[in-house]
Every structure is written in structure tokens, then in C-alpha cells.
Symmetry: C2
């Protein structure tokens, strides 16, 4: 039995970022080099959804442009002015702006930092099982197995070697 | 078929707050008079979790002190300095601080604004069914039925008249 107790409250910027940079395979991973994720929800032992404090250096991208099949996603901008790219086109966001991406709409999105300063935002996603993430602009498919582990493949299902 | 399309992104402070102030019965409702909730996630059609931008006027409380049985909860402070009250006692929070409340720990919490300026924070909660909310300091029990509707009663199950 663990005797470790979750903290009551923390300053988000003082929580260490997650060491693993990305689950993308080689060839895609470099696209999110400028991204630093801190898993705020996990620090408190939350299981039903994740909350990340994410920093994008100038030139950084939040993710490859993607759409979730089962899980909702939400972002709230704290600093900087990222460009949100969806099927509808581009839109510049500012601090205090937010966007939600409902599962299974097929509308793919990502944030890109084309500005001179870091972008910082909160991102929230639930953990509904059976998730599949589709990437309209890239030959990549991501599934999450019943064990919670991610699996990446090409769109035809063949693995990356 | 609805032709209404969800917006791509919005300024959170410009979204109208929810008109219904509280689901608490008479006698408890006045305790959250100083609270204004704006349902950010719902504007984008999200279903798996809710994200609220909540404002507490000086003297305002986030809720009666409560613990969730099934649903996780998370708060991130944007403005002001609320006091977080849990089973462990009191802790003053500042902008950039966050706290997570894992379901079924039995640790009840709420935020109280004892400062001279408004407190503004983001609160996130999932929508796991079968939820029950317990209030250690008050004779109140809240359950959420399979229809998603809330029901309040006294702790012995008798309804408020």
C-alpha cells in the first residue's frame, strides 16, 4: 500500500515537465520538439481526465493536426498568441481565449506558435477507452488499447520499423 | 437535424454565464450567491467533461464543501487569492496555482474568497455516471440519475419540501 499522499495544491509552473517528449514515431517526433508538457492532473492522482500545462517555443506545434474519435479536448490560452488550425482554416488566439474539440466530429486541429514569444496553455482531455486518433495531413494512426497503452501505425495498419 | 455549428474559438470572458445560479435547495442556495459560472465546454458541444470559468465575488464560495464519489475535479486559479478548504485545513491559493480532487478519496473541498477582489478560476469535472456528492458539513446529499438530472435530499434521503 502506498503511503504517498497527493499534494493539496501546487504552483503549476513549478511542477516538473514530463520527461518523455512524444509518442510519435521517428520522422514525426521532431515536429513537436518545441513543446513542453507538464501533467497537472496526474500529480493529484486524477484518472478520468488529464490536464496539461503546455508550453510551445516559437516555431513549436501542439501536435500533428489530429481529430479524436472518442475523447473530447479543450484548450485555454494563458500566454502568447498561437494559431489554431482546423478544417475551417486558421485563427489567431490570444490569452483568455478557449476552444473545444468534440469527439467524432472529424474536424482536426492543432496549435502552431508563429509568434516571437512562448505560448502557454492548458489542455484537457478525457480518458474514454477505445480511443483512435486520426491525422488527416500525415500517414499516421494512433490507437489506445484496453491496457491504456498507445500504439502508432501507418494508416494501412503497418507498423513503423 | 441541427444546422447549428459550434464556434472554432471564443474569448472565455465574453461567453454569457449560465442563467441558473445553483441547484442547491432553499437554505443552501444563498451560500453561493457570489458565484458566477460560465460553461465553456458546453459552448463547444463537449459531453465527456465540463469546463467552467467561475468568478467568486468577495465573500463568495465555490460550493458547499463537498466530495465526489465517481467524478474527478480540477481547478486552476486565474485571478485573485481564494482559500482552499479541505479535510487537511486551509491553504491560500494564488494565480497559477492548481489543485486536483480525485474521486472517492472522501476529502471534501471548496474555495472561499476572503480577499478584496474577485477570484476567477477554471474548474473541470468529468461526467462519469452514477455520481453522488457528499457534504460533510451540511445535511445535504446530491445524486445524478441515469437521465443526467440532479436530485438533492437530506442525508437520510428525505426530500426538501
Amino acid at each position: 500500500m502506498s503511503t504517498q499522499k497527493a499534494p493539496v495544491a501546487l504552483t503549476a509552473a513549478e511542477i516538473p515537465p514530463r520527461p518523455k517528449k512524444t509518442i510519435y514515431p521517428e520522422g514525426f517526433a521532431a515536429r513537436v520538439d518545441g513543446r513542453i508538457k507538464t501533467q497537472l492532473g496526474d500529480v493529484f492522482g486524477l484518472r478520468n481526465f488529464g490536464v496539461n500545462l503546455t508550453r510551445l517555443k516559437p516555431g513549436g506545434e501542439s501536435a500533428l493536426r489530429h481529430a479524436h474519435m472518442k475523447q473530447d479536448e479543450f484548450v485555454y490560452i494563458l500566454e502568447g498568441e498561437p494559431v489554431l488550425i482546423t478544417n475551417a482554416g486558421e485563427m489567431k488566439l490570444k490569452p483568455g481565449m478557449c476552444a473545444g474539440f468534440r469527439a467524432a466530429t472529424g474536424d482536426a486541429h492543432h496549435l502552431v506558435n508563429r509568434g516571437p514569444i512562448d505560448v502557454v496553455y492548458l489542455e484537457i482531455g478525457d480518458r474514454t477507452p477505445g480511443e483512435e486518433v486520426v491525422y488527416p495531413d500525415d500517414d499516421l494512426l494512433l490507437t489506445i488499447g484496453p491496457d491504456g497503452n498507445y500504439r502508432t501505425s501507418r494508416k494501412d495498419g503497418t507498423p513503423f520499423t
